[in-house]
């Protein structure tokens, strides 16, 4: 049994003009203490996938399919039962540390409440444990910091607080949704280091959601690439980085700067991510694809397993090589 199993998950949002599919029939598994990255542009459905799993979709969102944690179905689970799992067994760190902490409560009460709720600790014990957690995320002067309000802390400090809250219940899975995007570049590196070290120390699996391949390369074991709500490719980091099979993964890699190969020319993917309300026919990527075939315009390629255990969703089977574009 896998720790976390997602099967045929779809997420739809009802809007005034109809229904929008944010996540389209995706499946994946995550094992114990594994680090998996979900990569995609904004609007690719990567965040909605995990929000759906934890019952955190916006009011007009509906999730169908199945999400199992240790064999227990999470979709459709009563809030009361779900609340025993989220924040306890599965914790989440959000993108924007500036707004994700309650500005009207001191750090101490925001930390203590999870421990008293899930671990049944007394307030004094919970406070001690919280201070210990703040030390663990390497926040200097934890005893002082814990008495403050969020607006008195910097973005990096707040994100450390968020991580401390998330890890304080010793969850089996930590989900981090773009945890470094809102932070300074210098702080980003420290934060990734922290994630890597802590999940190892705590023996937690890490689901890292990001659009930044540079972040993924450093810490993930496996990665999944999403485009317009669909999973287009998944495999280990080495496989995807050194021999991508899907043109979108290929495009992403060539549009990300590499520290080890600064000479490489960056080539952004042409065009913009499609609007979910108005998806292209067939494969949603075809308008931006250099390798498209005729059938890509009519038919969406399914995700299929190739011989070596990798999966990708593309009809094109040839080699992916950079093509110089007309007029250049």
């Amino acid at each position: 049994m896998n720790l976390f199993e997602v099967k045929d998950l779809s997420v739809d949002f009802k809007t005034l003009t109809g229904s929008v599919k944010a996540v389209d029939n995706i499946s994946f598994n995550i094992g114990k203490a594994e680090t998996v990255a979900i990569v995609g542009e904004s609007g690719s459905g990567k965040s909605q996938t995990v929000l759906a799993a934890l019952g955190l979709l916006a009011e007009n969102g509906v999730a169908t399919g199945s999400v199992k944690f240790e064999g227990q179905e999470l979709l459709g689970l009563e809030t009361k039962e779900l609340n025993k799992i989220r924040g306890n067994q599965i914790s989440m760190v959000f993108q924007d540390p500036m707004t994700s902490l309650n500005p009207f409560m001191r750090i101490s009460s925001q930390m203590i409440e999870v421990l008293t709720l899930h671990k049944g600790m007394s307030k004094t014990d919970a406070l001690k444990e919280s201070i210990r957690m703040l030390d663990a995320v390497r926040l200097p002067d934890a005893k002082q910091v814990i008495t403050r309000f969020p607006h008195e802390l910097s973005g990096g400090m707040r994100q450390r607080v968020m991580i401390a809250i998330a890890l304080s219940t010793e969850p089996k899975i930590l989900i981090a949704d773009e945890p470094t995007t809102a932070l300074d570049v210098t702080v980003q590196a420290q934060m990734l280091e922290l994630f890597k070290g802590l999940t190892k120390d705590f023996g937690a699996a890490l689901i890292l959601i990001t659009h930044d391949l540079g972040v993924v390369a450093g810490i993930a074991d496996r990665m999944m690439v999403m485009y317009a709500g669909r999973l287009v490719e998944k495999g280990t980091i080495d496989e995807l980085f050194y021999s991508p099979h899907h043109p979108y993964t290929f495009g992403l890699l060539h549009s990300t700067p590499h520290v080890d190969n600064p000479e490489m020319r960056l080539e952004p993917i042409d065009g913009l991510p499609p609007s979910l309300e108005n998806l292209p026919s067939g494969c949603a990527f075809h308008p931006r694809c250099d390798f498209k075939l005729d059938r890509c315009l009519i038919e969406a390629p399914p995700l299929h397993k190739s011989a070596n255990g990798r999966s990708n969703a593309c009809f094109y089977k040839g080699e992916l090589v950079k093509r110089s574009k007309a007029g250049e």
């Binding site: 934890l54 019952g55 955190l56 916006a58 009011e59 809030t79 009361k80 779900l82 609340n83 025993k84 799992i85 989220r86 924040g87 306890n88 914790s91 989440m92 959000f94 924007d96 707004t99 994700s100 902490l101 309650n102 500005p103 009207f104 409560m105 409440e113 999870v114 709720l117 899930h118 309000f149 607006h151 968020m162 809250i165």
Partner: protein
């Protein structure tokens, strides 16, 4: 915090002085003295009366006397119409009545308005929510002077349950209609503000964090959402208070409750300057003090305001 309070008092006092000086000057510059309106008095009698009320003294002297009287003794001077009544007598008689149904109305408007707003927001897009929104829109055209006769038609004329006016020492039967009439439209405003601010807060990132923590709905609403959602309501309390004080005049007139509003309108009709001025200043003192308390309360709740 202490500094903030001091600063706030530092604003309140000059405001009050300006109100007093403004009212006094206005009265003083009124065309014709307070005793010139009715039948002509003989020259000598008029001079005697004016001397008695200190009206023969220069303007600044009268003003200083008036201000000193209010500040040191809480004395608003004599009534110009009733020989043996001072403005303080008029206030002492009517104010307790106004205060009683006023406080009740305020409590009802705030407590019902806030709860209505919260319940509507939690059940967003439910039937209850639609009803609540309908009520807040409809109540815009139900000010106190419309509510009062409608209540009398329903509860006195048709149902015969409640007396159509009077006070009777403030028994509950006499209290109900004044309180409903005075509080309805403000209750609706408070409910509208509360609902929209609660909806905004419930959609904020930190509430999503609270949900992700596994907190129950009750904990999320009362521990995380209530305080920030209340802030806009708190800043509306000042205006509500002013509007209710103003509305009390209608209540006193329509229900004959014997509150201070009746005296105010009578004084206005009789040009009893000192009573109008006294009541205006009293209401000013109440309003300014209340606004100050609300500001301090706001600063105390919102950790982002540094004192």
């Amino acid at each position: 915090m202490f500094k903030f309070i001091l600063k706030r008092i530092g604003i309140a006092i000059p405001t009050l002085l300006i109100l007093i000086i403004f009212s006094f000057t206005l009265m003083h510059s009124a065309p014709g003295g307070p005793f010139t309106s009715e039948r002509k008095l003989p020259e000598q009698v008029l001079a005697n009366i004016e001397a008695k009320y200190g009206l023969d003294q220069p303007y600044y002297k009268q003003l200083t006397n008036y201000v000193v009287g209010i500040v040191t003794k809480g004395d608003f001077g004599p009534s110009f119409r009733y020989k043996d009544r001072s403005v303080n007598d008029v206030i002492a008689q009517g104010f307790p009545v106004t205060l009683k149904y006023g406080i009740w109305s305020f409590i009802v408007a705030v407590s019902v308005g806030v709860s209505l707003g919260i319940v509507a927001a939690i059940n967003h897009n439910s039937v209850f929510d639609y009803l609540a929104v309908g009520f807040t829109i409809g109540a815009q055209v139900l000010p106190n002077f419309v509510m009062a006769p409608i209540l009398v038609i329903i509860f006195t004329l048709w149902l015969g349950w409640l007396p159509g006016g009077g006070w009777n020492g403030g028994q509950w039967q006499y209290l109900i209609m004044p309180v409903i009439a005075l509080s309805t439209s403000y209750m609706a405003s408070i409910a509208r503000i509360m609902r929209s601010s609660m909806l905004e807060v419930l959609n904020s990132n930190f509430i999503r964090t609270a949900k992700a923590k596994g907190l129950s709905n009750r904990q999320i609403i009362f521990k995380h959402a209530l305080k920030p959602a209340l802030l806009p309501v708190i800043s509306y309390l000042g205006p509500t208070f002013v509007l209710m004080i103003t509305g009390s005049v209608v209540i006193d007139i329509y229900f004959s409750t014997g509150g201070i509003g009746r005296e105010f309108v009578n004084a206005a009709l009789n040009r009893d300057y000192s009573v109008i001025m006294g009541i205006t200043i009293l209401m000013g003192i109440l309003t300014i003090t209340f606004n100050m308390v609300v500001d301090i309360l706001y600063a105390w709740i919102d950790p982002k305001i540094r004192y």
